[in-house]
Amino acid sequence: MLLPLGIVIATSFSASGNLQFPPQALSLRWYSAFFADVVWLRAFDNSLVVGVGTTVVATFMGITAAFGLEAHRGRFGDILTPIVILPLLIPPVILGVTLLVYFSRLGFRSSYLSIILAHSLWATPLVFFVMQSVFQRFDWQLRDAGMDLGANPIRVFIHVILPNVKSGILVSALLAFIISLQEFVMALFLSNYQTQTIPVLAWNSLRQSLTPIVSVVSTFLILISIVGLLAAALATNIEFVAKRLS
């Protein structure tokens, strides 16, 4: 499973202009080409803006909704859960078309906001389910104890609940960021030359010519995912992360 990713990284060190494995000679020339290219660097900034935006939006909505659902189970929760899952089952091309039509109508197509909202459709369910299982494992007697001592519920949330679930929050925020960073089909529909993210630019340049610079970019993206995943695994464990992704 990992072999293809290793091959991508290997081809990024190629000295020739062709994408081939194993590379004939090694060099860092495609790395310097990447850092000299304004278009790639701007795409990098775009990815960062969209990723951070998605993380904030998805984490906020996911945590509040999971907490609300856990604090009081009602019929709204029963309707909410399937609706939250549904976007994950719809082909991204259809989501892209749908949101392009909608955002054009509203007049903010190709903006950062449109991509952030689209990515939140995929990132929020993950946050929601991670946080739901975190809240389920939380010892609610601690909350009741805090309430009995006279603290108001918001203070209990900040001083009692939050410290106990912060690793869960970290994991869900990391996942939300990675989801946004890697998503490309919706971004392809919703971005333009100014706002295109790294995967979109990679895709567009791939369709023109297959140069190792795409492997360089891929190497960066893979490294970011590895770091994020290791951080998430350290905060909880790999098994927990793996199960929540399904």
């Binding site: 976007p87 039509v101 929020t124 990679a202």
Partner: protein, 306 residues
């Protein structure tokens, strides 16, 4: 001092909620997500359906305020589009079957492994899952192209005389698509598998069942809910495949996603693009219901699964 001011802010914030009942409060907490799903998911889909009933226009993406079923008639009558729909479903079925079978084996191996080996097996699945589709697709080009690694290797060993045409070709599309959906399918099965008790399998073996028999008689029925979820995910995403056919396919590898993208962004024919999308959604929804019903017969009822 700062602690004091924070206290008063929190107290004031709480006074807003104090009068509400528990269910109202939790509804208030859920309201951002509910609002979001309404405005960014439900309403856009209603608009999609509305535009699919608009007249096609020369200069504009669609003619506003018109109503016609012409685009649906066109989608359902055009042989080209029918071929595209059939191709999408064929790809979906083949990729799903391969993925689910491979995923069951991999999930089983991960379940039986322990310690570092188990973590490594999980990591190998989660990392590709968190890697962009673009990378997961294009990596197969240098590997499987006529002058790529696999062909050079096979030629050097003498197994083949001429390079195999795997990419660009349908075989390449299937390989790429299976690689893309495999992690999701594996994890769906794995998370159910971890709830199975190994003692059950041991008991079956003690009673004389072979390894294979104990798997089919004991493990498989238990993990059917996971297999159902894996099948639905793999199917939905493979029918909607975009990157693998675009990059690894030949000209004849044309699923609906490519057609929709072209109608939408190149031809600016929005009624056709939206009508085709709607038709595909309905067909996929029906297929998923069929998958649920069929696999549900074999114990794949997912209502009790995580």
């Amino acid at each position: 001092m700062s602690v004091d001011s924070r206290t008063t802010v929190l107290d004031r914030l709480w006074s807003l909620f104090e009068g509400q009942s528990g269910s109202r409060r939790s509804l208030l907490l859920m309201s951002p997500l509910i609002l979001f799903e309404l405005l960014v998911f439900v309403v856009p889909f209603l608009l999609l359906v509305r535009i699919s009933f608009s007249e096609q226009s020369q200069g504009l993406p669609y003619a506003e305020g018109t109503f016609t079923i012409a685009s649906y008639v066109q989608v359902l009558q055009s042989e080209l589009l029918q071929g595209i729909i059939v191709y999408s479903f064929k790809l979906g079925i083949i990729a799903t079957l391969l993925t689910v079978v491979l995923a069951v084996f991999y999930a089983y191996a991960t379940w039986r492994a322990s310690g570092v080996r188990k973590s490594a097996l999980l990591f190998s699945v989660v990392l590709p899952l968190l890697t962009t589709l673009v990378i997961k697709t294009y990596v197969w080009v240098p590997l499987l192209a006529p002058n790529g690694t696999a062909n050079s290797l096979l030629l050097a060993v003498g197994l083949i005389q001429a390079p195999l045409q795997i990419v660009p070709n349908t075989l390449g599309v299937v390989i790429g698509q299976v690689y893309i959906v495999f992690p999701y399918a594996m994890l769906a099965i794995y998370s159910v598998l971890t709830t199975v008790e190994w003692e059950l399998v041991e008991a079956a073996r003690d009673l004389g069942a072979s390894r294979i028999r104990s798997f089919f008689a004991v493990v498989l029925p238990e993990i059917m809910p996971g297999i159902t979820v894996a099948t639905v995910i793999s199917f939905a995403w493979s029918v909607g495949a975009y990157s693998a056919p675009a990059l690894l396919g030949a000209g004849s590898d044309r699923p609906f996603a490519l057609e929709v993208q072209e109608q939408m962004l190149v031809n600016f024919n929005w009624p056709i693009a939206t009508a085709l999308s709607t038709v595909m959604l309905v067909l996929m929804f029906v297929s998923i219901l069929v998958i649920y019903t069929v696999l549900g017969r074999f114990g794949g009822d997912v209502t009790n699964a995580t």
